[in-house]
């Protein structure tokens, strides 16, 4: 079975600073994919960034980047230059050959002015 663990229920950061959200996972598949989704107070789920497990290079999308450690089964999200609009729940998700996603419980991030 695939599992995703987010060990930080809540985090906070000052505006313009950098924050890292942690995620660990477990899977027996060789080909899999990892995602970070953002859920702001509006409740809409928004894809932030994704990573293919066979790619060694860490994915980057503007201020968002990941630190993918395959051997450690770790997939952390780094947000640089945090903005008030980054305040949201962040979910780590794992996908594989079944076309389904398994989600972690989420980390509530608050960006303080």
């Amino acid at each position: 079975a695939q599992t995703v663990t987010q060990s930080q229920p809540e985090m906070s950061v000052q505006e313009a600073e950098t924050v890292t959200l942690s995620c660990t996972y477990d899977t027996s598949e060789n080909n899999y994919y990892l995602f970070w989704y953002k859920q702001p107070p509006s409740r809409q789920m928004i894809l932030v960034i994704r990573q293919e497990a066979y790619k060694q290079q860490n994915a980057t999308e503007n201020r968002f980047s990941v630190n993918f450690q395959k051997a450690a089964k770790s997939f952390s999200l780094k947000i640089s230059d945090s903005q008030l609009g980054d305040t949201a729940m962040y979910f780590c998700a794992l996908g594989g050959g079944s076309e389904k996603l398994v989600f972690g419980k989420g980390t509530k991030l608050t960006v303080n002015p």
């Binding site: 809409q44 293919e52 996908g95 079944s98 389904k100």
Partner: protein, 114 residues
């Protein structure tokens, strides 16, 4: 292009009542999903479909039914509503091409069973 739409946005049910949550996507996606999100929890998969006429159970299917008669629509039926089904329900869709493809989510339906 509306993406994934869900109706209703909010609903209160009495124990034992039934209802259907509607989900429609206009992206011609093959894959569609129903999730529930309980407070403080991530999303759990209820049912999913890989195409019209094909559905399968997810992690928490008990108390729910689905059908997929068209590519666009994937309704979720609650029979004999129970307080344990109080949750936020999300529908999502994804195009073909593998798990790397993004799942697009609807805005959610907040359901309360009293």
């Amino acid at each position: 292009n509306a993406g994934v739409t869900q109706t209703p946005k909010f609903r209160i049910l009495k124990i034992g009542q039934s209802m259907t949550l509607q989900c429609t996507q206009d992206m011609n996606h093959n894959y569609m999903y129903w999730y529930r999100q309980d407070p403080g929890m991530g999303l759990k998969l209820i049912y999913y479909s890989v195409g019209a006429g094909i559905t399968d159970k997810g992690e928490v299917p008990n108390g729910y039914n689905v059908s997929r008669s068209t590519t666009e629509d994937f309704p979720l039926r609650l029979e004999l509503a129970a307080p344990s089904q109080t949750s936020v329900y999300f529908c999502a869709s994804k195009g073909a091409g593998g798990s790397y493809n993004e799942q697009f989510f609807g805005p959610g339906t907040r359901l309360t069973v009293l």
